[in-house]
C-alpha cells in the first residue's frame, strides 16, 4: 500500500485516476481504517485529503454553508451558525459513533461509505445538500441523493473525490430534523431513520417540504410524495397520515438481526412523523 498526502485537489485526483488496483480516499478514516484492519479491502493507494486547502473549513456562502470534505462531526457541532441554520443535519452527523469517532468522521465520508443506514445522509437529502465533485475531467455538482449507488457503492468515477458539501440558504421560517431508531441509546446503527426539512409561510402553512428515509432500502431515499403530502397544511393529522403512508410505500428494506422488513417499514413511518413534528416546531409552526 502506498500512502500519499497531496497538497492540491489536482494532485489528489491525478494520483487516484492514474493508480492501478484499489484506491481509497482518506478523510476522517473512521470507515477506511476499519476496512483496512479487518482486511475487507487491501488498497494499493490511500490518498489523505486533509492537507488540501479548504478541506477542513466551514465557509459561509450565499446564505448557506460549504463544508469541506474533511470537516469532522465535532467541528460541525461547534459551529454556531451551521447549528442554527441546519440543526437536523448537525444532529444527524453527531449520531455517528462515539466522541472519538466524532473527532474524525466526516459528512462526505459518511456519504461515500454508502451505507444504507448512514445517519447524515437522509438529513442531507432532506436539506437539499449538493456535493461538489472534482475529478480528472473537472468539477461537477450532484445532489447528495445521487451519490450512493447501493451498499458500499457510489456513482463517483475513477479519480473523482467529493471536495465539499453545500448546505443551502433557507427561508426564515424553516426547520429540519433527523431521527433514527436503534435498540440502545448510543453508538448503534440505524434500524430505520428519517430526515425532514420544511418551510412555512407567514400563516404557518407548510410551503415546501422534503422527506428522506434511511436503512429501509439499498440507499437512503428521497420520498417526494411524502414531502408533497405535507405542503399546504399546518401539519394536520390527515397530511401526516398521507406522508407516513408515502414513506411506508417507498420502503424496500431487508430483514436482518436488527429488524424485520415489516418492523423497519412501520418504524420509518413513525420516525418521519416525529421528525416532521420537530422540524415543524423548529420552523415556528404551531398546531
Amino acid at each position: 500500500m502506498r500512502f500519499e498526502s497531496p497538497a492540491t485537489v489536482e494532485e489528489a485526483t491525478h494520483l487516484l485516476a492514474n493508480a492501478d488496483g484499489t484506491t481509497r480516499v482518506l478523510a476522517g478514516g473512521t470507515d477506511v481504517l476499519v476496512q483496512l484492519r479487518l482486511g475487507l479491502v487491501k488498497p494499493d493507494l490511500v490518498v489523505d485529503i486533509k492537507n488540501i486547502e479548504g478541506m477542513r473549513s466551514i465557509v459561509a456562502e450565499d446564505g448557506g454553508y460549504r463544508i469541506g470534505a474533511a470537516v469532522s462531526g465535532a467541528e460541525m457541532g461547534e459551529h454556531e451558525g451551521l447549528v442554527a441554520l441546519w440543526p437536523g443535519v448537525v444532529e444527524a452527523m453527531e449520531l455517528v459513533g462515539s466522541t472519538q469517532v466524532q473527532g474524525r468522521a466526516t459528512l462526505a465520508g459518511n456519504l461515500c461509505n454508502a451505507s444504507p443506514a448512514a445517519d447524515s445522509v437522509p438529513a442531507m437529502i432532506a436539506a437539499n445538500a449538493i456535493a461538489t465533485i472534482e475529478g480528472p475531467l473537472g468539477l461537477r455538482l450532484l445532489p447528495v441523493e445521487e451519490v450512493p449507488a447501493g451498499p458500499g457503492k457510489t456513482t463517483l468515477s475513477k479519480g473523482e473525490i467529493i471536495t465539499s458539501i453545500f448546505l443551502p440558504a433557507r427561508p426564515k421560517r424553516s426547520g429540519d430534523a433527523y431521527l433514527r431508531f436503534i435498540p440502545r441509546t448510543e453508538m448503534d446503527i440505524a434500524v430505520a431513520s428519517a430526515g425532514v426539512s420544511l418551510s412555512l409561510d407567514a400563516d404557518g402553512t407548510i410551503e415546501t417540504a422534503r422527506v428522506a428515509i434511511g436503512a429501509v432500502a439499498p440507499t437512503a431515499l428521497l420520498v417526494e410524495e411524502a414531502g408533497t403530502a405535507l405542503i399546504g397544511a399546518g401539519l394536520d393529522d390527515k397530511a401526516v397520515a398521507t406522508m407516513v403512508a408515502a414513506v411506508r410505500a417507498a420502503c424496500n428494506p431487508i430483514s436482518d438481526k436488527r429488524g424485520t422488513a415489516e418492523f423497519r417499514t412501520k418504524t420509518a413511518g413513525v420516525m418521519a412523523k416525529r421528525a416532521a413534528e420537530i422540524a415543524f416546531a423548529r420552523a415556528g409552526g404551531t398546531k
Binding site: M1, R2, G29, L33, R37, T99, Q100, G103, R104, M187
Partner: protein, 158 residues
C-alpha cells in the same frame, strides 16, 4: 515496502519515527515508541481503549494512520501526570476505586480530560454521553462517572 518518515509532537516532545503505510498511530505508539498506555481493545474504533488527542481533539488512535501524524500534536496518557504527581482525574479514579482490570482506564482518563477541557462543569448525563465510546467490562461505569464528576468539581475549586 518503503517506510514513511514522520515528525510529530507527542506529549510536548518532538518525535521522529519510521512507519509502514498500513501502521496505525496505535501500532507506532505501542510497538515503536514504547508508549503502551493506549491499549488495543477492538482495533475498530468501538471501545475507546486507544484514546489519544490529536491537535487537542479526542480520537481513537487505532483509526489514525501513523503517517497522518506528520506535523500534528498528539497527547497520550503518558503525558497526563507530571512526574510523580498524578492528575486530579487519576487521583479520583483511584479514590473512587473506578477501575478493576485497568485496560480501559488510560482511554477513560484521556477522554475525561478532553471533556473537562471543553466543559469544566458537565452534568452526569453529559459525562455519560461523552464516555459512551469508552467501554469498561468491570466497573459498571458508575464509579467512573462519580470519579469524573468529583474531579471536575475539584478542578473548578468547588
Amino acid at each position: 515496502m518503503s517506510k514513511i518518515h514522520v515528525t510529530t509532537t507527542i506529549n510536548g516532545d518532538t518525535v521522529e519515527y519510521l512507519c509502514s503505510p498500513t501502521e496505525t498511530l496505535l501500532d507506532v505508539l505501542r510497538d515503536r515508541l514504547d508508549l503502551t498506555g493506549a491499549k488495543e481493545g477492538c482495533s475498530t474504533g468501538d471501545c475507546g481503549a486507544c484514546s489519544v488527542t490529536l491537535d487537542g481533539r479526542l480520537v481513537s488512535s487505532c483509526l489514525v494512520l501513523a503517517a497522518e501524524a506528520e506535523g500534528h500534536e498528539i497527547a497520550t496518557i503518558e503525558g497526563m501526570a507530571e512526574g510523580e504527581n498524578l492528575h486530579i482525574l487519576q487521583t479520583k479514579i483511584l479514590e473512587h476505586a473506578a477501575l478493576q482490570c485497568g485496560v480501559c482506564t488510560p482511554g477513560i482518563l484521556v477522554a475525561a480530560k478532553a471533556l473537562l477541557e471543553k466543559n469544566p462543569d458537565p452534568s452526569e448525563e453529559e459525562v455519560r454521553f461523552w464516555l459512551a465510546g469508552n467501554l469498561c467490562r468491570c466497573t459498571g461505569y458508575d464509579k467512573i462517572i462519580r470519579a469524573v464528576l468529583d474531579a471536575a468539581a475539584e478542578m473548578r475549586g468547588a
